[in-house]
Symmetry: C2
Subunit: 409 residues, 2 copies
């Protein structure tokens, strides 16, 4: 349900927030942890235009994790108060603002557990057809949101350089394996979702209440070493191919801010099974979020857009991922991070990783410099962007998630 | 290298520590977090006989995590001081002891990341032959220690009841899947290893230094729902089949205490490949630790031993697991937990999970009550035990890891 905080006529006294195309108008109010200066103590902030509102100083909120832990009603009330603060200027209100340009944006919290799903049927089918030509989409795919546990320690903030990993790979199908730098380094465009209040161990979360356990979303780049993955992933799944780095955008856009962009999930294609009861819902559980990948090689002055997709077209929704995750009794906790899996769509322009874009190297991507890319090269920068638009509402954005591939030392 | 703290002649003034067969003589000194009474603040303790030495009060050590974070030399010195305290009785020394029987033993720390390996070739071959009869041992197995990320939030202390998980399973090969309580619930006997000082992101740990990043070991029961696992695990690995609970023993036996039980790993069978250089070592990297599984149904007065194995016979060592884990740049941190994978050996009596013992249900285990077990039933208690013995040294033990299967509410 939208409320007064979504009124598109609302304007902030922070004027940069009112400019068309601004990711952070007063209807958004995403949270991040930040340092206003190099040695400052980290604090919680809310983005407003090109400024950061210090909500630790202004509202006594110690951290973003503290907001994640709040019951939803309390979070909604905090949003109302912050919105009011930024709409109705009070004396000295500006003292709580600092320029985003000079701040260091950190991870929003220490990540508890990180779980990565695989919720785009287009991505699963494309990649499956490369790794398992006879059997691209496995029998379980349409029955449950496939997911696996990822590495929390190597989730890094946007802007952190990504070291090209070493690993074991097969250079020829017959082997033997060799150990060296990955030669098939890739990005994956994903939506990240942070958990709000969790569930006790052994007590599943019913699908109807799953959305209430979500705190907000960010952009997530699930960097992947395809050559390491191919060799290592059977039978227990990806490990070193993924755990060298996962980048996320600093601003977490709350589920409250996303309310105007909720939709009914698309009907499943004819012949696909109805989800079992613990995953079945008639709620507005899809979110219309446009997600883009931009790439800039070291020789390019400006990045080029490589793909664009719509998060609402995922086969499984965030609520279904949460309900599935807890269905066996696993406890989720505030500060846990979920990755959606690569967001790919039905069209070529919707392909969310380079493996799909360049079709395993068979159709290299051409850059405006004349360079080509089968996989990422040292010096390449990958930029993820995302935003939401809907008739009658103010556009809001997720900001950016950036990472440059650094070579090995 | 053993030192004076390993002298088998050393006796403690805590007399129960000197009894033959005691797990916790003064040569052991494992760490746990504990509450001396129901509402007491948790503190760090060291086991000595049937008592706990409060090392928070006696030595100002705030937590076990603080010890995990210490550089190895500092930890060695702490061990020396604690040993001295328990050998040479000082006035009022007893004030720092409390009975283990009345204490609540907790998790040793908040688990950072939990990673589970698959390092017994006997287990991998046995289980592989059930899930993939044509292809039991995958081509990567002898080249790298296969591992995957597990769930940290659901690691629980010994004694926590384990709720039988619900999940999707196939009742007939053609499906469709159904959602209900797991009917193939299993234990897995593993050794757990806690990380000490970690490595920065992007900086691998050379195999020669890998052992220095280990803090200590415990018993670990990787509870597994085989029917859920069979349906969900392709292509990204086990997820809900494992993340409903993982039990660990409370006492962490340090690598220092294990020094007398180090051995050269067994030579690899003829024809097996030599590990690649980043996993190759001539060090005494195997540990002789006897590990046992005991089972007690609700109708049994006493548990029966189901299996016994030797950790030194694993195909991959803990050092190789650590070196492999960090080889792509993944950062390990103090408080991270590694599971070894099910410890099975070449003989029937060495099989470390019920799936292997009862051979996927084909050869049910017979209990002294006349009951049989294909998989675990509600009310069954699984008890893991472990200890080390070597000529010329005092036996030390890991204590116990217990868990009872609770039905669904």
């Amino acid at each position: 349900m939208t409320d007064a905080t979504h009124d598109p006529a609302l304007q902030s006294w922070v004027e940069s927030a009112n400019e068309p195309g601004c990711d952070f108008p007063v209807q958004n109010l995403p949270f991040a942890m930040f340092q206003p200066g190099p040695d400052a103590v980290p604090r919680a902030g809310v983005a407003i235009g090109d400024r950061i509102l210090d909500v630790t100083s202004a509202f006594g909120i110690p951290s973003v994790l503290a907001v994640m832990r709040m019951p939803r009603a309390e979070r909604v009330e905090l949003r109302r108060r912050i919105g009011e603060f930024l709409v109705n200027r009070s004396p000295r209100a500006e003292d709580f603002l600092s320029p985003m340009a000079g701040a260091r944006l950190l991870l929003p919290c220490e990540i508890g557990d990180y779980t990565d799903f695989y919720a785009s049927i287009h991505h699963a089918t494309n990649v499956g057809s490369m790794f398992r030509p006879d059997n691209p989409l496995l029998p379980n795919y349409k029955w449950l949101p496939v997911g696996y546990h990822g590495r929390a320690s190597s989730v890094v903030a946007s802007g952190t350089a990504v070291r090209r990993p070493y690993g074991q790979t097969l250079e020829t199908p017959a082997g033997p394996p060799v150990f060296g730098p990955s030669r098939r380094l890739d990005y994956e465009l994903e939506l990240g979702a942070f958990l709000g209040p969790g569930n006790p161990l052994g007590e599943p979360i019913p699908i109807e209440r799953a959305g209430g356990h979500l705190f907000g979303v960010c952009l997530l780049n699930d960097w992947s070493a395809r050559d390491i993955q191919t060799w290592e992933y059977q039978p227990l799944g990806p490990f070193l191919a993924k755990n060298f780095a996962t980048s996320i955008s600093p601003w977490v856009v709350t589920m409250e801010a996303l309310e105007p962009f909720r939709r009914l999930p698309e009907p499943r294609p004819a012949g696909d099974p109805e989800p079992l009861p613990h995953l079945r819902t008639a709620a507005l559980d899809a979110y219309g979020i446009t997600l883009e990948v931009w790439l800039r090689s070291a020789r390019m002055a400006e990045p080029m857009r490589v793909s664009r997709g719509d998060f609402a077209r995922m086969y499984w929704t965030l609520s279904q991922m949460v309900a599935q995750h807890a269905s066996g009794g696993c406890n989720l906790r505030a500060g846990d991070l979920i990755g959606s899996g690569t967001v790919s769509g039905p069209l070529k322009e919707n392909r969310g990783c380079l493996l799909e874009v360049a079709w395993r190297g068979a159709k290299p991507l051409e850059l405006p410099t004349g360079e080509t890319r089968r996989f990422l090269e040292d010096g390449d920068e990958v930029i993820l962007r995302g935003w939401c638009e809907a008739p009658g509402f103010r556009r809001i954005g997720l900001g950016e998630c950036r990472g440059v591939i650094a070579g090995q030392a």
